[in-house]
């Protein structure tokens, strides 16, 4: 038993050992297989998997860029960023969302509809995404939240940056406003698309929109680690973004505010320009609205109210409003006629009143003055704004020559380039009518063009530029609203103008007068006239219009030479006056608002040493002399009083740029 057991035991032992050996060899192979697999994953493909693991765990968040600010000429902030108090909730961190939201409703007096909206929003997003419960809390509400914070687990009071316009509706049409970026904004502007974050505010109108790419700033970047469920675990890296550029304007806030006051919610526009530098000192369109309303989305009822207002607060009348210039065009018509030698200053025309109007091909052309002006010289015709004289002057001049002069002085073109949604207006010519309307030009149309009615359409800013270019002695300037550092000294500019004038005299031997006068793309300070005497004559006539008895704006004159100004009134008809109406001779207040004349006044001052040009429009304001000119009187006093202060700052600016 033992022996056989031993024998078979030996055999059995052999079998086991042999099979164990085979199996052990297999084991070694498998072990090496595993080692090989580890090697290939961890050594060969390490980089690939390291990248994948980083992709798993790292997320980048772009922070909202901090927008650049706007300052006025004196460095006052007119569009700034301010701290906004918000309340955020991360639903994931809230034990019971309903209880919290009801508690918050009590504390903040949230409306039911707001509550519904929040719940809808919460259901749409992921539980770890921030829900903005309140975008703009008052300080009181914010401190209340902080007081109750211990019982509001999951609620987070947050400080963020918002836009603020401290002068409310004063700058609305210059700056525009910001609001949440829309799909259109993202599609039309690459920079916005690239830097967009939820809740980003971008410019919608005005300079805020035009300068978007400079203002917007760059995103800060926050890199953080997330877990498998996308929850943020910790911050790894933080790079602060760069604030957008601060933009300095040429505008004086005090004057801007004053123009706002002068217009006093009437529909109209005031613009003031430096006649040498082209700097816009103020530019106001009225009525206005508060751009701060748009920051968090305007209420529907309020928006409707603004949109439906018959005075059109949304329209920037200064650059986008088109009006007949009325009699304000007369100095230009006179200049054009003189420059083209179709009349001399000695031409006399008899204005015989409504009983004996000028007749041409069966049409009657009335002067505004019922009893007529009698025999008028050119000077008197400008001074007293005689229509009959200018019918005759225009007839002699012809529409095409007037067109060329008008274009030269800035009508029919954008004044500020691309910044605003500017309207070019219309400066008619025979060619224009053929192309735009497809009809031949009639001589009668030339006549009414001569008094700024008919097809001619201008913006208030174009008339301001026209006046400025007359007032500076007839030299080309390019208006600007954004302050440029490489400012030239006023004396240098005057010298350059003088040089331009001399160059012109030298050249005149080579070029015909018309060629010289109407060459395109003038350089800054180029002379726009052929004979300087003609400019001087027109300016003198404008002086008389304001400062001599029988002048149309005589009642608005200032005698103190420090403030003394010269200007031209305008009363633009908005509809043809019928014979019956002419008989009635109604007062402005007796006519329905929409049919009243627009009141115009363009002027420059101080007369002895001019520096500023203004253009004033009051829509449906009646006559220029009764409504618009008195505004100029107040305005010039204010502007010239501010002049010294502006010069002081200017000198400081020039000094710093020299260093």
């Amino acid at each position: 038993m033992i022996g056989s057991g031993e024998d078979s035991g030996f055999k059995k032992s052999n079998t086991i050992n042999r099979r164990m050996f085979i199996f052990a060899a297999a084991k070694a192979v498998v072990f090496f297989g595993i080692v090989g697999r580890l090697f290939s994953l961890q050594i060969n493909e390490n980089k690939k998997y390291l990248t994948l693991s980083d992709k798993n765990r790292l997320r980048e968040a772009r922070l909202p860029p901090v927008r650049g600010e706007f300052v006025d000429y004196f460095g006052n902030r007119i569009a700034k960023n301010l701290t906004v108090y918000q309340l955020h909730v991360v639903p994931e961190q809230v034990e019971d969302f309903k209880t919290l939201i009801v508690r918050l409703k009590d504390i903040l007096n949230l409306s039911d509809s707001h509550l519904q909206e929040l719940i809808k929003k919460k259901n749409k997003q992921k539980p770890w995404e921030t829900l903005i419960v309140s975008e703009n809390l008052t300080w009181d509400e914010f401190s209340k939240i902080n007081f109750y914070l211990h019982e509001l687990s999951g609620a987070r009071p947050v400080l963020t940056v918002g836009r603020n316009y401290p002068y409310n509706d004063t700058y609305t049409h210059v700056l525009g406003y910001v609001s949440e970026a829309s799909v259109d904004d993202l599609v039309s502007n690459e920079t916005i698309k690239e830097r967009n974050v939820p809740g980003l505010r971008v410019g919608k109108t005005g300079l805020e929109k035009a300068l978007e790419n400079e203002l917007i700033g760059t995103n800060g970047v926050q890199r953080f680690e997330v877990n498998a469920y996308g929850k943020r675990i910790n911050q790894i890296d933080f790079k602060e973004g760069e604030q957008g550029k601060t933009i300095k304007l040429t505008i004086d806030t005090e004057i801007q505010k004053y123009t706002h006051e002068l217009l006093n919610k009437r529909a109209g526009s005031i613009s003031i320009m430096d006649i040498y530098t082209g700097e816009i000192i103020a530019m106001n369109s009225s009525p206005s609205f508060d751009p701060n309303l748009f920051l968090y989305g305007i209420e529907k009822s309020k928006w409707k109210e603004i949109k439906k207002d018959p005075l059109k607060p949304l329209l920037n009348k200064t650059v986008s409003g088109l009006y007949s210039p009325g009699s304000t065009i007369k100095p230009l018509v006179a200049l054009s006629a003189l420059e083209n030698d179709v009349i001399t200053t000695n031409l006399k025309v008899n204005c015989r009143g409504h009983k004996h109007p000028l007749e041409l091909y069966g049409m009657k052309y009335h002067c505004w003055k019922k009893q007529g002006h009698g025999y008028m010289s050119l000077q008197n015709a400008i001074k007293q704004s005689c229509d009959t004289y200018f019918y005759e002057a225009a007839r002699l001049l012809g529409v095409d020559r007037l067109n060329e002069t008008a274009k030269k002085f800035g009508l029919g073109n954008n004044v500020l380039g691309e910044y605003f949604n500017e309207k070019k207006g219309v400066v008619p010519s025979t060619k224009w009518k053929k192309e735009a309307i497809g009809q031949n030009w009639y001589l009668g149309e030339t006549l009414i063009n001569g008094i700024g009615q008919g097809y001619i359409q201008t913006t208030p800013l174009q008339l301001c530029l026209m006046t400025a270019q007359l007032a500076n002695g007839g030299h080309k300037i390019y208006p600007k609203i954004i302050y440029e550092n490489n400012q030239e000294n006023i004396e240098t500019i005057k010298q350059k103008m003088k040089l331009a004038e001399e160059n012109k005299l030298e050249d005149s031997s080579l070029l015909s007068a018309t060629e010289k006068l109407f060459k395109k793309d003038e350089k800054t300070y180029d002379a726009l006239y052929r004979n300087k005497e003609n400019i001087k004559f027109v300016l003198d006539a404008m002086f008389r219009s304001t400062n001599e008895i029988y002048g149309t704006s005589f009642s608005s004159r200032i005698e103190d030479p420090k403030y003394q100004f010269a200007g031209k009134t305008g009363t633009a008809q908005v509809k043809r006056i019928t014979e019956a109406e002419r008989e009635l001779d109604l007062k402005t207040s007796q006519i329905p608002y929409k049919e009243r004349d627009h009141a115009w006044y363009v002027a420059f001052g101080p007369y002895k040493n001019p520096r500023y040009a203004v253009s004033i429009l009051v829509e449906h304001g009646g006559s220029g002399s009764s409504t618009a000119a008195p505004i100029a009187k107040k305005l010039f006093k204010f502007v010239i009083d501010r002049h010294e202060y502006r010069e002081k700052i200017n000198k400081k600016n020039l000094a710093t740029t020299d260093i």
Partner: protein, 374 residues
């Protein structure tokens, strides 16, 4: 012979203590310590539930293993069938009254521990077969009767475990048993034919599998097909291991682990977590420790004078090897994901208990290596 046996039988306690395999003990201790650190890392660098109970279990079961070492190997031989029957009873109990978790009914609530009898079956099947083949002579191994009985012994628990359902454990039980059959000298052609049958019938078997089990097998062949669904575990595990590199991301710095990208990091994927933090070098080190452990077990088996001990050691050593390779191949994307813990490293009381019982019996084989069993 008698003299020797009586000598070993009556050797003093200190003699027994001296004949413990210290290399093996130290290897187990090192793996235990490594597993504690790994568990500490899964708890996010804090001593919390998983790490605490894992350490307690390791200490308790390690002590238990030492005690088992001193139980005469003869006792295990005597109680071999009984042990198998008890575990089988527990399995039936689990199937009837067990606790269900994650769609599988595999635990028995013993109040102080939730016991998973299928884990114990991995050991019981080896003990049972070791006893069965202890007596049978090589010449009789391939008799029909001696083929049928072991297959029955094997099929009953396997079918119970599959029905829980627990594919992973049932495969491991099957493999543990088959190794002993192989060692006992069952003719190669049986293995050949049965694997042929298995391959042919595999499509039919698969059609009987639960949908999630089918999905796992399909996913194995193409994990990128559904990277956020079924393929997620394999992809994330490979990313974790691969991103570990040569030296690893450092202790407690495995991002895949602590940011919860790794599924089941306490249990089946503990090696992934370890490999991410300690890299290629750490993984090789752990593999070497396991290799030493297996080598020591096989060495003890080869010195055993009784066939029961020999069968058990060879069987158990090979089973440990299979557990390790199946687990590692799984987390490295070489095999489909089936639940299979890594011995000692993985969290889980029953697995630890079974492993320690097995190691205790191996140690007892060492101490009583001269013991003859009639």
């Amino acid at each position: 012979m008698f003299l020797q046996s009586s000598l070993s039988d009556k050797s003093t306690f200190f003699q027994k203590l001296r004949s413990l395999d210290y290399v093996m003990l130290i290897t187990i201790l090192i793996i235990g310590i490594i597993s504690s650190f790994a568990m500490y890392s899964t708890d996010g660098g804090e001593l919390r539930y998983h790490s605490e109970s894992h350490i307690v279990r390791f200490v308790v079961f390690f002590t238990m293993m030492i005690f088992i070492s001193f139980i005469n190997i003869k006792t295990w031989h005597t109680l071999g069938y009984l042990f198998y029957i008890i575990v089988l009873g527990l399995l039936i109990w689990a199937s009837l009254f067990g606790i269900t978790a994650q769609g599988s009914q595999r635990w028995i609530n013993l109040y102080f521990i939730n016991l998973q009898p299928s884990e114990l079956m991995k050991i019981a099947i080896i003990i049972c077969f070791a006893k069965y083949y202890h007596r049978i002579q090589v010449a009789h191994v391939n008799r029909i009767r001696n083929i049928i009985i072991p297959i029955l012994i094997l099929i009953v628990p396997i079918s119970l475990v599959i029905s829980q359902p627990d594919l992973g454990t049932s495969i491991l039980i099957a493999l543990s048993g088959i190794i002993v059959l192989w060692l006992a000298g069952v003719n190669i052609k049986y293995f050949f034919y049965s694997s042929l049958v298995f391959i042919i019938s595999a499509p039919f078997v698969i059609s009987f599998l639960k949908p999630y089990q089918k999905l796992r097998i399909l996913t194995f062949f193409d994990p990128d097909k559904d990277p956020l669904g079924a393929g997620y575990q394999i992809i994330q595990s490979k990313i974790a291991v691969g991103s570990g590199g040569l030296t690893g991301k450092g202790f407690l710095k495995g991002t895949q682990g602590y940011l919860e990208f790794l599924p089941e990091k306490h249990t089946d994927f503990i090696f992934t977590l370890f490999s991410e933090e300690f890299g290629f070098i750490g993984s090789i080190l752990l593999l070497i420790l396991y290799a030493i452990l297996i080598f020591r077990i096989l060495r003890i088996g080869s010195f055993s004078r009784n066939f029961f001990g020999k069968f058990f050691c060879f069987g158990f050593g090979s089973a440990i090897f299979i557990y390790i390779t199946v687990n590692m191949s799984m987390v490295l994307g070489l095999l489909p994901i089936v639940g299979s813990p890594l011995p000692i490293m993985s969290y889980g009381g029953s697995s630890m208990l079974a492993t320690m019982i097995g190691l205790g019996i191996v140690m007892s084989t060492k101490i009583y290596s001269r013991q003859l069993i009639s």
